[in-house]
């Protein structure tokens, strides 16, 4: 732990990542306390104050119906983070099981599992998500499903590659010669050795999931109004550029901070955990 802290503190980029993500996470968690206008997360209309540039107390200006942009961004973070975490909680276990089984068992199992993975990987992620969202209703739950469907194959790839390497290690042979079951070898022997790489990738991916989710809602396929969402905020503001710049610049910056922060944090974790996959 001390060593981990030392590694992070010794690298200014890692430190920046930790600070940025601490900011993003605490704004999401404490949005109710921090937001100057908590009610503006919903369908509030304040035409007296609509489309105002940054000023006190609306430090990031107001949107087209007069809601405080800063408050909405804080709540949008909360939704983005929940979405990211739920997506990864679904995608990672699925990908891990597929990757472990394909890597360890081999033969036909490997062929079927990895070719399926390849099919998913070969479809451009946004196209896949868009087609799923096009068929289903554009709700938050369906949005998560769509993003999950495009995310698990990356984990099965990652875990598959690590499993192929770990399989050659002597401890796998030792467990097999003792007579341990396949399930034991995969989940108790090999899987723990995949954790550093998985955790690192999950951290990096939180940023990318937020980005993809924002892209979907930018296209009108994600979270629906009045729920605050960074992607749709940018989309709405885009037609008022450059005069009402704050409508796009602040939500855009918010996306940037989250994605950049998770990337830096992921790199820092890679240094600490030593997972260089």
């Amino acid at each position: 732990m001390k060593r981990a802290a030392a590694i992070v503190l010794s690298n200014p980029m890692s430190l920046a990542g930790v600070i940025l993500i601490a900011l993003v996470v605490s704004s999401a968690v404490f949005a109710d306390l921090v937001a100057p206008f908590p009610s503006h997360r919903g369908a509030v209309v304040d035409f007296a104050n609509f489309n105002q540039p940054p000023s006190w107390p609306n430090i990031m200006g107001t949107d087209l119906v007069g809601r405080d942009l800063f408050s909405r961004i804080l709540y949008a973070y909360r939704i983005s983070l929940i979405l990211g975490i739920v997506v990864l909680l679904l995608a990672v276990p699925a990908g891990v099981v597929v990757g472990l089984a394909a890597g360890y068992i081999g033969g036909r199992t490997r062929f079927i599992l990895m070719r399926t993975t390849d099919v998913f990987l070969s479809i451009p992620p946004l196209v896949l998500a868009m087609s799923i969202m096009g068929v289903l209703e554009p709700t938050l739950a369906n949005g998560m499903m769509a993003v999950t469907a495009m995310w698990w194959p990356w984990y099965s790839r990652l875990v598959f590659n690590i499993t192929l390497a770990e399989k050659e290690e002597g401890y796998v042979l030792a467990a097999e010669l003792i007579g341990a079951s396949r399930i034991h070898v995969m989940f108790r022997e090999i899987l723990p050795n995949c954790f550093p790489a998985i955790i690192t990738k999950m951290t990096l991916d939180l940023g990318f999931v937020i980005l993809i989710a924002s892209s979907l809602s930018f296209l009108g396929l994600g979270v629906q109004p009045p729920t605050p969402d960074l992607g749709s905020m940018v989309a709405q503001g885009a037609s008022y550029l450059p005069d009402s710049w704050w409508l796009t610049v602040f939500p855009g910056l918010a996306i940037l901070v989250a994605v950049f922060g998770f990337n830096l944090l992921g790199d820092a974790l890679r240094d600490v955990l030593g997972g260089d996959q």
């Binding site: 060593r3 030392a6 590694i7 010794s10």
Partner: protein
Amino acid sequence: MIAPTLDIRDLRLTFSGLGGSVDVLHGISLSINREERVALVGESGSGKSVTARSVLGLLQSLRGTRISGDILFEGTNLESMDESRRRQLRGTRMSMIFQDPVSSLNPVYRIGVQFREVLARSNPGIDAAEARDRAAEILSEVSIGEPGRVLESFPFQLSGGMNQRVMIAMALVNEPALLVADEPGTALDVTVQDQTLRLMHRLVQEHRTSVLFISHNLGIVREFTDRLYVIYRGRIVEEGPTGSVFRAPGHPYTRALLAAVPRITRDEIPEFEADPGKFGAPKVVHGPAGNSA
């Protein structure tokens, strides 16, 4: 008086990292005269490879490495030399052979191309035909029957023993004054290792090259070196002509080492009196209080 080929004086080396700093070498002094084959013998973690790498100047630019002491090469202090001049020496006046020949040769270039590169280090104007002739000549010295074919090959097309011979030829083609051999042949089968080391031995004698021989294998050291230093936990514990150290080892550590080597004429497992904890872990990694990590 002629200056020795290599004269290391009170070499100290500390690695500092995030977990604190580790003293790896506690004042190594070692000298190699002209045409002398000197071994630095020790177990893993004793600091022998680190010493070799310091001589070659491969550690000096690493972050977190602190080196003090002098390394004199043919009378010139390497430690006060600038980095580019030092690099110029490597591969020309001093060269090296590592344990694993396959990873020491570049897999994507033919042997001939790699030879020419090495030759160009000491003679930048050398042309292709001349480089080829010189390479073929030295390859036949290491008993390679068809130097032409070998020069046209990639390293992976040759056997481990053949690659090791190519490495030896490459290391000696520029007529260096000093050859640093770090566990040469360790990765090879015993019969191939034996042939390779004999070849190397003959060649360095013919070319009158001084050798710093890094090894953990006492049998090999006994056969191929004139003098030896025993290194234990970053300190030299014994020094002397190879024959007399083997006949009458002075330091208890050397005695324990020699007693522990299994012999092909004894049908029992070596027994030695040294107390169990004492020489079990020759690690240089220890804290400020000297407690073993």
